[in-house]
Every structure is written in structure tokens, then in C-alpha cells.
């Protein structure tokens, strides 16, 4: 299998911190630690290209990854190996981004970094194996990386035994017996005293620290947000009724309330009959305008944001949250009312 290897500017021999701003580039064959990796992989899996990028450039320009992946594919790469990045944060971030971009483009990929490297999360579900903490552990790190790469090249899945770290994707497969039969078998295990047996590990959720209270609401600019699938009649943006992958924004300028027939909920998770009879019960514009007139709040944001909270993945919901927060910060909003359904 033809391999492309990713390194940062330092390991590619371009330069140290002074070269961290260097843009992405590609060379034929193995470079730096890639030479040792090539020897470990043997003739069967040659390193055909080495891609590299300055760490600062890779942190500030996430799009470097997709562009490099495209060039690697043009050079005939069939597998991407990135790192090892050890505990180097920006390098780990770059490795995580490039393997994730490769996986999305259908190019199998694998990175190596220390389990504490903050770049680990960037890899998403793309495989990462543990490396040592520093380049002093280059040799054992490369040996583990090469062993994992050979396994991946053979079409096998990597497990913790291969040193796999980070998010491990759960994938659908067919079991021998039905879920009902497995449930009955699990009852016997429970009755036999096993309290640990399960097919689904318990998830861990983020703990969110609430923002400090608004000092004086009468000075605050307030925005209305909702996960109620709230859209102008006819749903011009085609917001999904379930499993939303996007959010929408619409102007509230000149509106005193939201009228039936002009707005509707396309949420697929509850009966929208009453919401559509009075859309203010999803987006409470009528009472918010009253508060605005009374001076109880400083003002109302000129637009609302909405998505559909029905079977939405945590990853999409987190992205909406980040995007909303950035938008609201820019518009100097101090408080939001986010209606849930």
C-alpha cells in the first residue's frame, strides 16, 4: 500500500519556531523520521510522499488539511500516517486535522500522539495510537505506529491493544441473535450477580457552568432562540424536522408578534397543532415586545435563531452552540431566552 506521511516543519527539516508560519508543501519519498518508518514498513508499503506544514499555519488555517489530502491522493497515496506528535499541541492539532480530513475524503489514515495531546479530539473517530511524551521516545513510538499501520493496511480495525487512544467509533453490525434474545441472556447474567455486563457504555456529558447573572436586565440586549423547528411559513431554508444538521436565522424587525400563517414549527418530535395556532408560544415575541416597551429589558435582538432539537447529534448541537455564541458576542447580546420543546 502506498503511504503518505505528514510531519510538521521541525521534523521535516524546514526549521524550528522561526519556520512555524510556513505553508503546506509536499515532497516525494520519506523525510526525517519517515525514513525509519519506511524501514519498519518494508518494501510492501513504501512511503511515496511526505507532506508538511508549519505548526502556526496549520492551527490558523484548518483548510490546509483538505488541500494536502487532495495532493497526496494525486500522488497515489492509499494510506496517510501522521506524526508522531508526542505532546506538542499545535503539531497534534495538525495531525488530528489531517487524518480527519483524509478519512472524510475516503483516504484511510492514522495518527500517533501522546494521550494528553490536546489535538487528539481533532481526529474525531479516525484512529490515533499512543506515542511517547517526547522525541526521545521516537523509536518505540514509530514501532507501535508501524505495527498499527500494517494492521490498518490489512483492513483490520485497531483496538486498545494496538495502543489506540481517543474517540473510538461505534459501528453497526449484525449480531448472531436478536436484541430480545440478547436481553433475555443479559437478564440471566444480572440474576447471576453480574452488575457490569452491558452492550452500551454509560455516556459522560459535559458539565456547563452557567454564565454570571445579568447585572441589570433593563440595560441588556436580549435575543430569542429556539430549538422548536421555528421557521417562516413554507420553510424556505428546508430546516429538517428531525436530525437537524443546520440552524436558521430570520429577522424580527418591524414585528410585534409572530402570526399563525406567517410562521410555523416543522419540529417532528411533538404535536405542532397548538404551536402553529399561536407561534408566539414557541418564540415568545409578543411578551418580549411588551417587556421591551415597559423598559424591563434594554432591547430585543433584531433576528432570531432556530434549529430543530429532535434526534440532533451532540456534535451538531455543540457546533450550533459555538456558532450561536460567536454570533451573539459579535452583536453584543447579554442574555438569551432559548425556548425548548
Amino acid at each position: 500500500m502506498r503511504i503518505a506521511h505528514y510531519l510538521n516543519q521541525f521534523f521535516a527539516g524546514v526549521g524550528g519556531e522561526d519556520a512555524a508560519g510556513a505553508g503546506p508543501d509536499l515532497r516525494e519519498g520519506a523525510v526525517g523520521p519517515g525514513k525509519r518508518l519506511a524501514a519498519l514498513m518494508g518494501d510492501e508499503h513504501p512511503i511515496v510522499a511526505t507532506a508538511f506544514c508549519g505548526d502556526d499555519h496549520a492551527s490558523g488555517h484548518p483548510e490546509f488539511a483538505a488541500a494536502l489530502v487532495e495532493e497526496m491522493r494525486e500522488m497515489g497515496a492509499e494510506l496517510l500516517i501522521a506524526g508522531p506528535a508526542f505532546t506538542s499541541g499545535r503539531y497534534g492539532l495538525a495531525c488530528g486535522r489531517i487524518v480527519s480530513a483524509a478519512a472524510q475524503a475516503g483516504l484511510p489514515a492514522l495518527a500517533a500522539m501522546h494521550p494528553d495531546n490536546p489535538g487528539l479530539a481533532e481526529a474525531g473517530g479516525t484512529p490515533v495510537v499512543a506515542s511517547g511524551a517526547t522525541a526521545r521516545e521516537m523509536r518505540p513510538s514509530l514501532e507501535r505506529l508501524a505495527a498499527a499501520a500494517r494492521k490498518l493496511a490489512a483492513g483490520e480495525e485497531l483496538t486498545t491493544e494496538d495502543g489506540r487512544i481517543g474517540l473510538v467509533p461505534r459501528t453497526n453490525r449484525l449480531a448472531k441473535r436478536s436484541a430480545a434474545q440478547r436481553a433475555a441472556a443479559l437478564v440471566l447474567e444480572r440474576l447471576g450477580g453480574d452488575r457490569e455486563a452491558t452492550e452500551i457504555p454509560l455516556p459522560s456529558f459535559d458539565q456547563v457552568t452557567p454564565a454570571a447573572p445579568v447585572a441589570d436586565p433593563a440595560d441588556a440586549l436580549v435575543a430569542l432562540l429556539t430549538e422548536g423547528g421555528f421557521v417562516p411559513a413554507g420553510n424556505p431554508d428546508r430546516l429538517e424536522s428531525a436530525r437537524a444538521t443546520k440552524w436558521v436565522r430570520h429577522s424580527l424587525e418591524g414585528l410585534d408578534s409572530v402570526q399563525a400563517g406567517e410562521f410555523e414549527s416543522v419540529h417532528g418530535g411533538f404535536s405542532t397543532q397548538w404551536a402553529n395556532a399561536d407561534p408566539n408560544r414557541i418564540l415568545p415575541l409578543d411578551v418580549a415586545r411588551e417587556l421591551e416597551r415597559e423598559g424591563a429589558i434594554g432591547g430585543l435582538h433584531s433576528e432570531y435563531f432556530a434549529t430543530t432539537g429532535n434526534g440532533t447529534t451532540v456534535a451538531d448541537a455543540r457546533r450550533f452552540g459555538v456558532e450561536w455564541a460567536a454570533e451573539l458576542h459579535q452583536a453584543h447580546i447579554q442574555a438569551v431566552i432559548l425556548t425548548a420543546t
Binding site: 436484541a179 436481553a183 437478564v187
Partner: protein, 421 residues
């Protein structure tokens, strides 16, 4: 113990269907079921339906059904049904005793548009066929057009009545036939031996129009958990009017053939002691009341363990998790059947609301993972798949969530989800 009748048990007289065709007269003979088009149309006739079309879809055919709504297994206890589907066709009284003729390997199925229904794809062949129970049955598919001035609620009621009438009509054709098998189902209350007593707690969705399930013809919405004999399911005591979440749907067919009931019946080391039906309320206070009440009910029945099932997505997880916690507090060991919502790449958290005292969970698969369906020769239920705005016969990539019963929370399927072993 006599096989049926006065001991409270039920005998299932099973007639296997190996071939389904349309014809002039409804007939069952040696595994071949012929359906009279005229009789079927007359049973489906209703002012809310402008037109109905009948088609057959059998396992292995290059056919895709989209917009699959409810599906029903034909059954009858005698002419006119003899009391099956109580509250709809029979009087609203508990069934589940005596003898019931069942046509196994066939189903009547409606397909088309209803409000709040989604894609609901069944491929009768190819890689998605093993994911759906209705890909393994010879299906009499009912397509329909709404009468111009009919309300959608009337269309839904007409389809539901029509499917049940048809199911009884087809089973009546086998009333005089020699059954392929006689299956004796004892009354769960009658069993004296020392096996662990296992109950099934089945949550029924209760979210209003087009998302409701009926017990003796009534919604459980606003009600409390109730105990019925699992044998009543075979006689159609539970009928679905719930059309959302295709992969997480429990059609009438799977209530009639409840997979956990079947799995417990086939074991000789566990005893199916009780079936508790519960509403799935939409507010937290009622969820907690129903969960605590169901746990007291199970404790009162002296259960050693319980298996919990649900219908629908995230909100329905809360009902299962709360009940697991309350049951564990009563000293009853629990196992919950869940579908996972782990995101397209399978790295997200699997559950919205996990249980806190117990963790024995069975996975019916990840809802968000994509499945690729090859193109097919013909489609029933519609010409275009709205989700992708593509012709229904095209090659399609869909979330597993769109495949009918693919992650069935009654536990029908073999689909599961895990990290690499």
C-alpha cells in the same frame, strides 16, 4: 393441563404463507394465499379514501416500499374475527384465550403519506433486507389517495380499520385448513415452578394524533401502567397508530409477535411472568409517576427481573431509564433495550438519558450511521423519497433511522453497535 380453553392459555394455529398473489377469490391452500382484489377493496372502502391500490411485495424481489405506515399479521378466532383486535373489530374486552388462527410469513401493510410520518423504507432484497421484519414477509401493500375534503385523521382511522379488517379476512381463509403447527401458550399466571420470574415492561408512545398506540382500542395517554396477559398480544390487543421514527417504530405486527415475549417463551431457565404496558408521557412529572407506579406494580407481582422496551427516540429513553432506576430500587434486576444516537461517525454519546442505578443495556444499533441501498426495479408507497428528493427506485444513502424497524426497540432485529472487538 389441556392445550387451550378453560385453563386460560392460548393455542396458536399457525398457517405458513409461502406465496401471495392477487386473484378473484380469497383462498388459502398449501401455503399459497390468494387475495380477492374485490373483497379487499370493499373492506378498505371509506369516505376518507378516494382510491386504494393493492400490490404484493415478497422477500427477495427487487422492490422498495417507502412511506411504510402500519403492518398487521393476519389472525382470526372465527368468522368475523371472533374477538381479535378488541375495541376495533371485536368488542372491547380482553382476548388471549382459546384458539387463534395465524397466517405466518405474511402481513398487510399500508404505505403512503400521513402527517408526522417519515421515510420508512423497506427493501425486499439487498443489504437492507436483513434490517426489517417486513422484508421477510409476503406483504399485501395498500397504497391510497386521500379524498379531497377528508381530514388526515379520518384517513388514518380508515387505514387502520381497513388493515385490521383485511387481516381478519385473510386469516378467515385458513379457518378450515389443517395448521402447519399448533403452539400452546400457557397462561403466565398459572405457572408454579421455581424459575426466575421475568416481566416485560413495554412503553407505548402516547404523543397525540398520528403518534398514539391503542390498547383495546383506547389510548393509554393520561393513564397509568396496566397489566395484561402476553397472550392477548397474539389476538391484537395492542394496535399501533404511531407513524413517526421509522427505525424506532413498533408496528402492530411486532406487538402481535412481541420479540421479547417470544424470546422469553423459548427459554427453559426463565419464566415470562407478566407484561406491563405503560404510556410514554411527554412531561417529566408524569414520566416519574408512571415509572414509580410501574415499579410498584412489578414489585407487587413478585418479579425477579424485568426487560424494558420503548418506542421512539431520545425522549423515550428517559422513560426506560427512569423505570430501570425505580425497578432497581424495588430490588428487581433490569435490562433495557435502547437504540443509540451516536452520530454519523459513531463517536457521540449513545444515549440522551442513561439510567443511573443499573447499566445492563442491549443496543439495537446506531440510528445515525448511514446505510447504502442499491437501486431497485420498482417502488411502492410513493415515487420520490422526500428526504433526499430523489426517485424512490434510485441508489440511496440513508441514515439507519430511515429504515423501517431497523433499530426496533421491541428487540426484533440482530442489528447492534459496538467498538471494534
Amino acid at each position: 393441563m389441556s392445550p387451550s380453553g378453560d385453563d386460560g392459555g392460548l393455542s396458536r394455529l399457525v398457517h405458513e404463507v409461502r406465496e401471495l398473489v392477487l386473484g378473484d377469490r380469497t383462498l388459502y391452500e398449501s401455503g399459497r394465499l390468494t387475495v380477492s382484489e374485490e373483497a379487499a377493496r370493499s373492506l378498505l372502502r371509506d369516505p376518507a379514501l378516494a382510491e386504494v391500490r393493492l400490490a404484493c411485495a415478497s422477500p427477495g424481489e427487487s422492490v422498495r416500499i417507502i412511506g411504510a405506515l402500519d403492518a398487521v399479521q393476519p389472525c382470526s378466532k372465527g368468522p368475523g374475527g371472533g374477538g381479535v383486535f378488541p375495541g376495533f373489530l371485536g368488542p372491547a374486552l380482553p382476548p388471549g384465550r382459546g384458539e387463534t388462527h395465524v397466517l405466518r410469513g405474511t402481513a398487510v401493510l399500508a404505505a403512503g403519506h400521513l402527517p408526522r410520518a417519515q421515510e420508512a423504507v423497506i427493501d425486499m432484497s439487498g443489504p437492507a433486507a436483513p434490517l426489517s421484519p417486513l422484508a421477510a414477509t409476503h406483504n399485501l401493500v395498500i397504497e391510497f389517495e386521500r379524498a379531497p375534503d377528508a381530514a388526515w385523521e379520518e384517513v388514518e382511522a380508515a387505514l387502520r380499520r381497513g388493515l385490521l379488517r383485511l387481516a381478519v379476512h385473510l386469516a378467515e381463509a385458513a379457518l378450515e385448513a389443517e395448521p402447519d403447527a399448533v403452539e400452546v401458550l400457557p397462561d403466565p399466571a398459572s405457572f408454579p415452578d421455581g424459575r426466575p420470574r421475568v416481566g416485560i415492561v413495554t412503553n407505548l408512545q402516547t404523543q397525540g394524533k398520528f403518534k398514539d398506540v391503542f390498547v383495546y382500542g383506547r389510548s393509554l395517554s393520561g393513564g397509568l401502567p396496566t397489566l395484561i396477559s402476553p397472550n392477548e398480544l397474539d389476538d391484537g390487543a395492542v394496535v399501533s397508530g404511531q407513524y413517526g421514527h421509522p427505525a424506532l417504530k413498533n408496528p402492530t405486527y411486532l406487538h402481535q409477535t412481541h420479540p421479547v415475549v417470544a424470546a422469553l417463551r423459548e427459554r427453559d431457565d426463565l419464566w415470562l411472568a407478566a407484561l406491563v404496558l405503560c404510556p410514554e408521557p411527554v412531561d417529566q412529572g408524569t414520566k416519574e409517576l408512571v415509572s414509580a407506579h410501574a415499579a410498584r406494580l412489578c414489585a407487587g407481582l413478585g418479579l425477579d427481573a424485568a426487560i424494558l422496551t420503548k418506542e421512539g427516540g431520545g425522549n423515550a429513553d428517559a422513560d426506560v431509564s427512569l423505570k430501570m432506576d425505580r425497578l432497581e430500587e424495588e430490588g428487581i434486576a433490569t435490562v433495557g433495550i435502547f437504540a443509540e444516537m451516536a452520530g454519523r461517525d459513531g463517536t457521540g454519546p449513545s444515549l440522551v438519558v442513561p439510567p443511573s442505578l443499573a447499566k445492563a443495556m442491549v443496543s439495537t444499533g446506531n440510528y445515525d450511521e448511514r446505510v447504502s441501498l442499491p437501486s431497485c426495479a420498482r417502488a411502492l408507497g410513493g415515487d420520490r423519497l422526500a428526504l433526499l428528493d430523489r426517485p424512490a427506485t434510485d441508489e440511496l444513502e440513508l441514515p439507519a433511522a430511515a429504515v423501517y424497524c431497523a433499530l426496533n426497540p421491541l428487540g426484533w432485529g440482530r442489528l447492534t453497535c459496538s467498538e471494534a472487538a
